[in-house]
Amino acid sequence: MRPILLQGHERALTQIRYNRDGDLIFSTAKDQHVCAWYAHNGERLGTYHGHQGALWTVDVDPTSTIIATGAADNTVKLWDIKSGKCLKTWDFDTAVKRVEFAEDGSRLLAVTEKRMGFLGTIVVLDINLDVNAEQSSEKSLVITCEESKATVAGWSCLNKYIIAGHEDGSVSKYNAKTGEQIDNVQIHELDQLITDIQWSQDRTYFITASKDKSAKIVNVQDLEIMKTYTTDTPLNSACITPKKDFVILGGGQDAMGVTQTSARQGKFEARFYHKIFEEEIGRVRGHFGPLNTVAVDPQGRGYASGGEDGYVRVHQFDKGYFDFTYEVERQAKAAQQQHL
């Protein structure tokens, strides 16, 4: 698996997203612009200029028309992918740590930081996917996190719920229409920050990554932990691969502890685990800083990782990846085919 190294950012990466077709990659970093790349050759499609602070988050709508970004300049911006034009800016009281489009692109959620006396919130904005349309300035819903601030959030299937991961290691489920909290479950160790939530393709379950060195698959229905992947390093990101039953985890020694160790010992590797058997399958080296974000091509052809070192590494899966199966999986498949 020979990676493509994307050297477009000057500072640590914060988030990477593929579009639905998996041909475009959007990346944000602590420098102040968003980059768009062709996934198949790493050529840069363009950058989006306008933010005045470190960028924390990006998401692309399901039709690959618009991207939304959130930044430390307390704004959420909407951009036309093709032209690079900024379509809309929403102002908030504090930095925006996470944005995510609903599965039909009709709504956008934004997670705001708790700071300067403002509590952390999750805000819902209505979106019109037409680049020429006027976007509403109204916030259609505001959920305030009284207890522990939300660090990440996302939409469940059918836009029924908003799932949020909190600073204290718990996960909440909110009614996406009313904002009412339905459930709150301590998924990770107490006071171990949840760093990422990413969805399965049909958004019926999700994976959480935490500083407690583990990642967990949780189902939306009752917030039950389905699987746990234990590692030896704090995790910053996790994603679920389509087509194959794997998960990819990224992390590494905290930036603070990095100086005490060599790159070999820093564990700056993307780790592959079998989703169902919870066993580690392999690791991909390359970064020389902790991995801040991992993202997988929704079409299952490859994945990208972004590190504290400022690089994005795009990997195309090779034959070995697709051929890898456990004996029991092969048997199950054979049985199924026979059945048909």
Binding site: R20, P62, T63, T65, E103, D104, G105, L129, C157, L158, D202, T204, Y205, N219, Q221, M226, D232, G257, Q260, T261, R264, Q265, I276, F277, Y326, E327, V328, E329, Q331, A332
Partner: protein, 742 residues
């Protein structure tokens, strides 16, 4: 009455009721201050025959003979009051010169018979006052309840591994938990017991593995048996260090704080232990045998700034002879005190004066010396040059105190004493300085203890300073690590060389002269770990910041032997190398099958955990353990098989290993089967769950009138143009040549 502290009401408690006084009488009784200090020198003797005025001096004279055995008592210090009828009350008061003598009298004279009918009962006068008062003692004798005999658990049951595989156990102290595991080689260790806060500072195995020692502010506890029950307690407050005798009969504890016995006394220690630092205990009874103060270490002179150099405390300070019969302590520069056990009295009631003695070491086994009929314990010691007298190494036999052998040495800076595990050899590593005292060189003086007259052989040809030395256990080969530079403080430790030695081949039974086999240069190695069974040795770099190498050597390699080594009793081969980042501790299991390397949080802040290797250096397992502090193999007692039986086992090894290999294979297969079964179950569960969730989602979409795919219709709407395929053809000329076609 002036308001005193006792009478002040508690301000915090408003509803304090003065009438409701607590009944402290029981506490007061227990902690009553003994005011009559002046009466401490008096004892009361009961059980004397009745005497009259006339016969009284006779009895007193008779008594004095007994009493003077303890301390000086004059005739007029014995008071035997007479009643109105002119007859004595069958008791006497005796005044000793010091309270200590009085206490000793109570201890030694109580219960001594005077004649057939009369037996002395000696008590302290203060005790009579204290306990003899009305109502203090129940008039009716109630026999103490005898606890019913309960059979104790077998303390060595672990040797019969329940799985029948002869596995070894290890203890781990991590974070605040202590756990004991069976070593399962490649597989996850099987935890036998795990307890939070089992110890407060560290854990330690007894030398034969019977007990696990936990250390607390209140003292030391020993644990053992299959249920890990507490076996013994030794209440040495604020204990810091623990040392066992080799036979697990006795225990030494040390605290940097002097023992302080308060008014209320101490459950195990007595008043005479007050102010002491060391206590030697009998493990079986749990009773202290004797306590000692810290040795006054003569200052090693002053450092450059003029401050006295603090010497590091020697531990163990009390060293045990191989048979648990003697324990000895060094008073540096002066003498060695050897105590007999279990009396803990000085052998011959005298310390052994050896002028200038720097260090001593007991032989680790009882040496059977050629031409000596009685096998005594041996220790060796060395003294530096004093005036015009040369430095000396001596071997002394105990209890006869006969000096078996001495060796004079010159220009000695320092010496280290290394016994071979069977006490067959003693190697004295002598650091010598040149005449200018500027450079150091090391020589090895090897005493052949078991041979007649104890001949000494000098190993020549070592130019550098030897920083580490280790004998092969039960063998006659050794490894040294040398360094050219004198270790000056610098960031990068100097390069070292590792050298191997063995005796050369001789005809007949004897052991030939020690010869150099090979030296490996430009190493960072600083530690040598022999397999407890000999033959294999690990040379490693531990507690270093730069390198973490482990090298596994075989001294009896079964392959081809180089021609140059044909006269040697070894065939050295480097079998494997490994690396363990941050390794701080290395330990062979007691059977010599495995090597565990660990990185303790006490020394390295991160990457803590342990690695398991087999004896050939093949890594079996790597396990990160958060905040691991100690990794300790459980030692085993010496084998019960005779030499002949061991030989027989070795002879039939092939037969045995067949059985074991089959067992291993079977176990592997069944373990694999279990894993596959587990995976199959996981897969089925997941599939079933996915199936139901997908079905539910589909139903819900249908109910809401939504299309099966939430996005497809959106894309159709926005993406009206047909897919375009753009093909770009790039032509690249790789090579161009011109040819003239004729």
């Amino acid at each position: 009455m002036a308001p005193s502290f006792d009478h002040l009401p508690d301000p915090e408690e408003d509803d304090y009721d003065e009438d409701e006084e607590l009944d402290f009488s029981d506490l007061r009784e227990r902690y009553e201050v003994q005011l009559e200090q002046g009466l401490d020198t008096f004892v009361v003797i009961d059980g004397l025959p009745e005497v009259t005025e006339e016969t009284r001096p006779k009895l007193i004279k008779f008594l004095l003979r007994k009493l003077n055995g303890v301390g000086k008592v004059r005739e007029d210090s014995v008071h035997m009051p007479l009643g109105e009828d002119g007859k004595s009350h069958r008791f006497a008061f005796v005044e000793y010169a010091t309270p200590l003598e009085a206490a000793l009298a109570c201890k030694t004279l109580d219960g001594v018979s005077l004649d057939k009918k009369h037996k002395m009962e000696v008590n302290k006068l203060t005790d009579i006052e204290r306990y003899g008062r009305e109502g203090r003692i129940d008039e009716h004798y109630t026999p103490p309840k005898l606890e019913e005999f309960t059979e104790k658990e077998h303390l060595r049951s672990w040797l019969a591994d329940p799985s029948g595989r002869g596995r070894d156990q290890f203890a781990m102290y991590k974070d605040n938990n202590v756990l004991i595991d069976w070593n399962n080689e490649k597989d996850t260790p099987e935890t036998i017991v795990e307890r939070p806060n089992w110890t407060e500072s560290f854990i330690q195995w007894s030398p034969q593995g019977t007990f696990l020692t936990s250390v607390h502010a209140q003292g030391v506890q020993l644990w053992g048996g299959p249920s890990w029950l507490r076996q013994k307690r030794f209440a040495h407050p604020f204990v810091n260090l623990v040392d066992f005798s080799p036979g697990e009969k006795y225990l030494t504890t040390w605290s940097h704080r002097p023992i302080s016995i308060g008014e209320e006394g101490h459950p195990q220690l007595a008043a005479e232990d007050d102010g002491k630092h060391f206590v030697i205990w009998d493990i079986e009874t749990g009773k202290p045998l004797r306590s000692f103060p810290n040795a006054e270490v003569p200052s090693a002179g002053n450092d450059e700034a003029g401050n006295p150099i603090k010497r590091k405390m020697q531990w163990p300070a009390f060293k045990w002879s191989a048979d648990d019969k003697y324990v000895a302590r060094l008073t540096q520069g002066q003498s060695i005190s050897v105590y007999d056990l279990p009396t803990m009295l000085l052998v011959d009631k005298k310390v052994i004066k050896i002028e200038g003695v720097m260090e001593f070491e007991w032989a680790p086994a009882t040496p059977r010396r050629d031409g000596v009929k009685t096998y005594e314990q041996l220790f060796c010691y060395w003294t530096p040059e004093i005036g015009s007298n040369p430095a000396k190494v001596g071997l002394m036999s105990i209890p006869s105190k006969e000096v078996v052998r001495t060796l004079n040495l010159f220009s000695v800076t320092d010496a280290r004493l290394h016994w071979q595990s069977d006490a067959s050899y003693l190697c004295v590593k002598v650091d010598r300085h040149s005449k200018s005292k500027k450079s150091l060189a090391t020589s090895l003086e090897i005493f052949r203890v078991k041979e007649k007259g104890v001949p000494v052989e000098v190993v020549e040809g070592i130019k550098d300073t030897v920083v580490n030395f280790a004998w092969e256990p039960k063998g006659d080969r050794f490894v040294i690590i040398t360094t050219a530079e004198v270790a000056a403080p610098s960031a990068v430790p100097p390069k070292t060389s590792v050298a191997f030695y063995c005796p050369e081949k001789v005809k007949g039974a004897g052991v030939g002269n020690f010869k150099h086999i090979r030296t490996y240069d430009k190493k960072n190695s600083n530690a040598i770990y022999w397999s407890p069974k000999g033959r294999f040795v690990v040379v490693a770099t531990v507690s270093s910041q730069q390198s973490f190498e482990l090298e596994f050597y075989d001294m009896d390699f079964e392959g081809e032997k180089p021609e140059s080594d044909k006269d040697l009793t070894a065939n050295l081969q480097l079998m494997n190398t490994a690396e363990h980042y941050g390794v701080t501790d290395i330990e062979w299991d007691p059977t010599g099958r495995f090597v565990a390397t660990s990185s303790s949080v006490w020394k390295v802040p991160m990457e803590n955990g342990f690695h398991m290797y087999d004896f050939k250096g093949e890594q079996l397992r790597e396990e990160p353990v958060e905040k691991i502090k100690q990794f300790l193999w459980r030692p085993r007692p010496p084998t019960m098989l005779t030499k002949e039986e061991q030989k027989l086992v070795r002879k039939n090894l092939r037969e045995y290993s067949k059985v074991f290999e089959q067992e291993d294979a079977d176990r592997g297969a069944s373990a694999d089967l279990a894993v596959v079964e587990h995976r199959r179950r996981l897969l089925e569960e997941w599939m079933a769950w996915r199936h139901s969730v997908e079905q539910d989602l589909e139903d819900e979409r249908e109910a809401l009138g939504l299309p099966a795919d939430p996005v497809e219709h959106l894309i159709k709407k926005t993406d009206e143009s047909e897919d375009q395929v753009i093909e770009e053809i790039v032509e690249e000329i790789v090579e161009e040549t011109e040819e003239i076609v004729g």
